[in-house]
């Protein structure tokens, strides 16, 4: 018996007798690590704290099928012969609830305590025991989505740092497993500190990293014999054969996106009960919402991030509407993102083939069957997909410094307020935060008051000492923002998003077309156009509102009209006899405007249906997609591409938009329920 090489040559293989698993767990628990592993709990296999081998599911199997999971008492000594249960490791790397910020009212001024400024202090180091190949792939997917974008999720990065990954190669395939189809398993290839393969009387242990070797160093292990090693390999090969390849994935993203109008979506919706189970058990689903609450005496408020699901009714809700009211739309959203647009967005499929969504679907919907029905492959031949090699390996994530977080909360002071309409107010806010003063037309901020929601609000003007926001009192939080008075404080994060491509206006006719409060995001653009008037052929503003009393910036528009700097056509949907201006929709203003339409750049903001009608008119008049720019409204909860709500095709509207050209959006613009 020899000790493992403490220097840790990756690739060395040892044999660990089964009765020594307790020692392995103790070794993993050094340095105050919490060991998480599989346990029998709630009538299934769950993940939870493991303090000794007694906690592990010895001799227990899990018989699973669509909508079914039953424990099976095998009576043998094997510890890890089960397919995965409902929990995935995201419960620890990306917990269901995380407090994001706490406001206290100690001296009468709301103060922000950013909990995440010291994340390592609160987060204990973890050892994950029993991580399957598909789950290593899932961790990699989360690393890409949450930690490797322009604005990393600091909480996730902190929780992923210093994880010890003890992988287990599956010796049985569950009835819903399809990792072989997704190219993520069943063999554990890399991304582990230690990898165990369970054989008759113990484990073949592969060392993946020096940290893994250090764990093994104190344990009485022998080098694995050839027979033991071959036994482990044969076991993995048997699992691959047992599972088979049930889902052909070649060209699947393209096939799915092309099937947006498939009648199958409505058929699935007759079975799907939109319970959200599939997204909660999915190891890669990452959508979250942030909720606010305050204690009863008003002394403290906090915001808490919780898992959300694209199957919930309010997931795609925006002011005045909801993009996905039908279950069929929500199912399509989930499936096309997971297996389709995820690939263009993040470079890999969002599915790792773990089968949880099939097992834990209460009505037994099998995504493999649905994918084959919605987007069948051109040929019947099913080809095994090679193991994915391209994803980045799971490596300890560097600490994310606070200054890397792109949008820290900034306190601003209200220096002026102006009531625009019965429910809309423009606040002029002072700040010396230069990124806000130097923001781009079309960018937005997320203002928040303690215990209030944080909606996305477009900047409606830039000033030398701050900026303006035009806010409609749509609910409790926005009503509180509208009620702010001079001298009061408003905390905002921003500027966020990509603004209008102002340079596209140079040397051209410009049509600015907007409706309702949509004029607000266009006002900084108009300011820029007017400041650069000499370089623009013609500026035509077409503005529609519900009634004359709902128009914004009326005095300003009157002055502009008189100045002759820009042409302005205003119209309202309905009016009383006192209104002598235009009545009708804004599309009927632009369809008769004389323009050199092939040389025109159009900037549009308004309800999406209004923008669609406007785009139809512009198409008829010959304005090309490359020069039609729209700003999309989607549910934005985080503003930095992490919460998932505003995902549209390959974009997160908040960070990749909200301004897009029609050429960029392609078919993603104007599809109902997308």
């Amino acid at each position: 018996m020899v000790a493992a090489n403490p220097a840790g040559d990756a690739g060395e293989t040892y044999f660990l007798r089964r009765e020594l698993v307790n020692e392995l767990i103790q070794a993993l628990a050094t340095d105050d690590r919490e060991v998480i592993g599989p346990r029998v709990e709630d009538g299934t296999i769950r993940l939870g704290p493991v303090s000794s081998a007694v906690d592990l599911p010895r001799g227990v199997g899990l018989d699973n099928a669509p909508g079914k999971a039953r424990l099976v008492e095998r009576g043998d000594d094997r510890l890890f012969d089960q397919p995965v249960g409902p929990d995935s490791w995201k419960r620890w790397t990306f917990p269901p609830r995380v407090t994001q910020a706490v406001w206290t009212d100690g001296d009468g001024t709301p103060a922000i305590e950013r909990r995440l400024e010291n994340p390592p202090r609160q987060i204990t180091k973890k050892a994950f025991l029993g991580v399957r190949a598909c789950e290593i792939a899932a961790l990699r997917v989360h690393d890409r989505v949450l930690a490797q974008g322009p604005t990393p999720d600091r909480d996730y990065a902190a929780r992923r740092r210093d994880n010890l990954i003890v992988a287990v190669e599956c010796a049985v395939a569950g009835g819903t497993c399809f990792c072989a189809s997704m190219g993520t398993g069943p063999e554990v290839r890399d991304g582990f500190d230690l990898a165990l393969s369970e054989i008759d009387d113990g484990f073949v242990v592969r060392v993946g990293t020096p940290a893994g070797a250090a764990v093994l160093a104190g344990l009485p292990v022998n080098p694995a014999t050839d027979a033991q090693f071959e036994h482990a390999q044969a076991s993995a090969a048997r699992v691959r054969e047992q599972m088979g390849v049930t889902l052909p994935t070649d060209g699947l993203p393209e096939r799915l996106i092309a099937a947006a109008d498939s009648p199958r979506w409505a058929e699935i919706a007759e079975r799907c009960i939109a319970c959200t189970n599939c997204t909660l058990v999915c190891p890669t689903c990452f959508c979250t919402s942030v909720g606010q609450r305050s204690d009863l005496d008003g002394q403290a408020a906090s915001s808490e991030r919780t898992w959300d699901s694209c199957f919930t009714l309010d997931f795609a809700r925006v002011a005045g509407g909801n993009f996905r009211t039908r279950v069929s739309d929500r199912y399509r959203q989930w499936l096309t993102h997971k297996f389709g647009t995820w690939t263009t967005q993040f470079g890999s499929s969002g599915c790792v083939g773990c089968g949880r969504c099939i097992t834990w679907c209460p009505v037994g919907i099998d995504v493999r069957d649905e994918l084959m029905a919605v987007a069948p492959p051109p040929e019947a031949a099913v080809v095994a997909r090679p193991m994915i090699e391209a994803l980045p390996v799971v490596a300890p994530l560097p600490p994310v410094r606070h200054e890397q977080h792109g949008t820290p909360p900034v306190k601003t002071t209200v220096v002026d307020t102006h009531r625009e309409t019965h429910d809309t107010v423009t606040l002029r806010l002072r700040t010396d935060y230069q990124p806000l003063i130097n923001g781009k037309p079309g960018q937005f901020v997320m203002p928040s008051l303690p215990a209030g929601a944080s909606p996305a609000i477009s900047i409606s003007r830039f000033h030398n000492d701050g900026f303006s926001l035009t806010v409609r009192a749509a609910g409790a939080s926005t009503a509180r923002i509208c009620a702010l008075e001079r001298g009061e404080t408003l905390t905002v994060r921003g500027p966020m998003g990509r603004g209008w491509p102002v340079e596209q206006a140079l040397g051209r006719d410009v049509m600015v077309i907007t409706g309702g409060i949509g004029l607000a995001p266009l006002r900084p653009l108009l300011d820029w156009l007017i400041a650069n008037r000499d370089h623009i052929a013609r500026i035509q503003l077409s503005y529609g509102a519900r009634t004359p009393g709902d128009r914004l910036y009326t005095a300003e528009l009157d002055t502009l009209l008189l100045s002759g700097v820009i042409d302005i056509a205003q119209t309202v949907d309905r009016a009383g006899p006192e209104w002598l201006g235009r009545v009708g929709v804004v599309t009927q203003v632009i369809d008769r405007i004389m323009c050199s339409c092939d040389k025109t750049t159009a900037f549009i903001c308004g309800p999406e249906r209004m923008m669609q009608a406007t785009v139809d008119v512009l198409h008829e008049r010959g304005v090309p997609d490359e020069r039609i720019w729209v700003t999309l409204e989607r549910h934005m909860d985080c503003g930095v591409g992490l919460c998932g709500h505003c995902q549209l095709g390959r974009f997160f509207v908040c960070k990749d938009g909200p301004v897009f050209s029609l050429a960029e959006l392609g078919p993603a613009f104007g599809i109902e329920g997308l």
Binding site: R317, A319, A474, R546, D573, G576, L580, V585, R592, M610
Partner: protein
């Protein structure tokens, strides 16, 4: 609102109606022959602000093309008074009901600004359309396209896209 007392402009002082029809987007695409026939049937007229061209429910005596100014189309809503649901801008038609049975005005048309019209009397226009297939084949499509455009606009208005329908959670 004043009742209409259409002021007809003396023909000797006006440019030929044909030029007006050639410049209006509704009729510019008509063939020269069709436009000429139409021009010979019409006359120029002006409305002062507040003057009523036709009343909702009344027989449609005129079809007109707005050349300058603005006509408001109003419907009466009991207890809310007249609501302007659409304005007819230069180039567009008002009084299309003069050529579509039952030849009754679907709204009240009132000038919201000093307005100049190319005016066509309903009965002779209907007779001409019934007897002259070439005129009917030229004119009906442009009238239909104007009505279709109006229907499309009305649908968008019906959606009430700018309204706030409920209290939001933010």
């Amino acid at each position: 609102m004043e009742e209409m007392s259409l002021t007809e402009t003396a023909s000797s002082q006006t440019p030929p109606l044909d030029d007006n029809l050639a410049a209006a987007w509704l009729t510019y695409s008509l063939s020269t022959a069709t436009r000429g026939k139409l021009a010979r049937m019409g006359r120029l007229a002006t409305l002062v602000t507040g003057e009523v061209l036709m009343r909702e429910g009344d027989p449609s005596d005129h079809l007109a093309i707005v050349l300058e100014g603005r006509i408001g189309l109003r419907v009466r809503v009991p207890e809310r008074g007249p609501i302007t649901i659409l304005t007819v801008e230069p180039g567009d038609v008002v009084g299309w009901s003069a050529v579509v049975p039952p030849y009754r005005a679907t709204s009240t048309a009132v000038a919201l600004a000093p307005t100049e019209l190319a005016l066509f009397d309903g009965p002779p226009l209907r007779e001409a359309l019934a007897s002259d297939a070439e005129l009917a084949a030229g004119l009906y499509p442009v009238i239909l396209s104007a009505v279709s455009r109006r229907l499309e606009g009305t649908r968008l208005q019906l959606l009430d896209l700018f309204s706030q329908r409920w209290v939001e959670p933010w």
